[in-house]
Amino acid sequence: MPDPRFKVLTSASTSGPGDAGRTGSWRVERPVIDMSSCIPAKTGKHACHLCWLLCPDNVVSKEIEPAIDLEYCKGCGICAQECPVQAISMVPDADFLEGADSE
């Protein structure tokens, strides 16, 4: 039993996303996947998934049609660079501003 005269303080972080906030705001260009040339999406089978493997920020899903979590995607562009069929292009985020600001 701890000494009742002292207050026991514990500080432990809780595990969760967004330690640095919504890191999607760091982004200048966002990755856009062209599903007609993406190998898993085109063939309907799990294949390369390099965008998932090499994403530093764990925002690309390992699905037949890979989805990118734009709330946290920092826009580094490794996925676009490493895609074996260049199915991912980096599009300026400003092009999407109108839709994002309408709320």
Binding site: S15, G16, P17, T23, D57, G75
Partner: protein, 301 residues
Amino acid sequence: MKTTARTTVLNLTEEEFIHPGNRACSGCGLSILYRVGVKALGRDCIFVVPPSCLTVMQGLYPIAATQMPVLNGTFASTAAIATGVKAAMRRLGRETQVVAWAGDGGTSDIGIQALSGALERGEDIIYICYDNEAYMNTGVQRSGTTPQGSLTTTTPFSGKSEVGKDLPAIIAAHNPAYLATCSASYPLDFHDKLLKAKQIKGLKYLHVQTPCPPGWGIEEHMTVALGRAAVETGLFDLYEIENGRMQLTGPSQQLLAKPTLRPVREYLELQTRFKALGDAQADALQAQVDRRWAGYRDRFR
């Protein structure tokens, strides 16, 4: 001899142990490593981390980007803390893996005496050094492993004049249970080497070259391409040493079959940190790589 099945992108677990939205820079090589490496370690492990980019990545109170317990220690005592944590786990009868994960400054400069002691005692821990070739977390100051000719914020305008330490060779001289070099551009190779290290008793040391976009002066999307260039030009070799026997592994082993490697300049020209490097220095580096690889071809082919 080699019977271990390789992990592929298809059978690599989808379970994630780190969260998005952490403090790592965009395009961080360490993030790729950490994300994929932790999948090999599994949940039953404790990290010991000195001040480094990894400390930053793991988050500040109250949110942590990792799901594993992390003990933040001081620079000089990483391996000593890991020793203590392992001893506590042994006393409690737990099989928990203790993983010390430090940067190149924390390993080659400040933490080397504690690591050397742990190696000599043969502690049953995994020590991972991610080598981004300078003190990146504090703003790109030169470290012991910074290569010759590289620009940092604390080197002359002509670049670092001294030759970088060959840290894996220093560790190899201690005869560790297992030693491997890896690259952030080949995360599956790193994953498999960690799986192997988990099965071995004694100190397992993994040295990982980790491209750093702000520190090396590369574009964020080039992280993986650059690490691959370092391996394919023969500048950074992937090998493992087990029971005193060295062999090239994975991508580096495949290079043995090729008559020539990519020229070193292809790697150097991608980075602004080598812009002070003269032609003579680049040629000398190329000659050095050629000599080393001629030796490898004689030995392993």
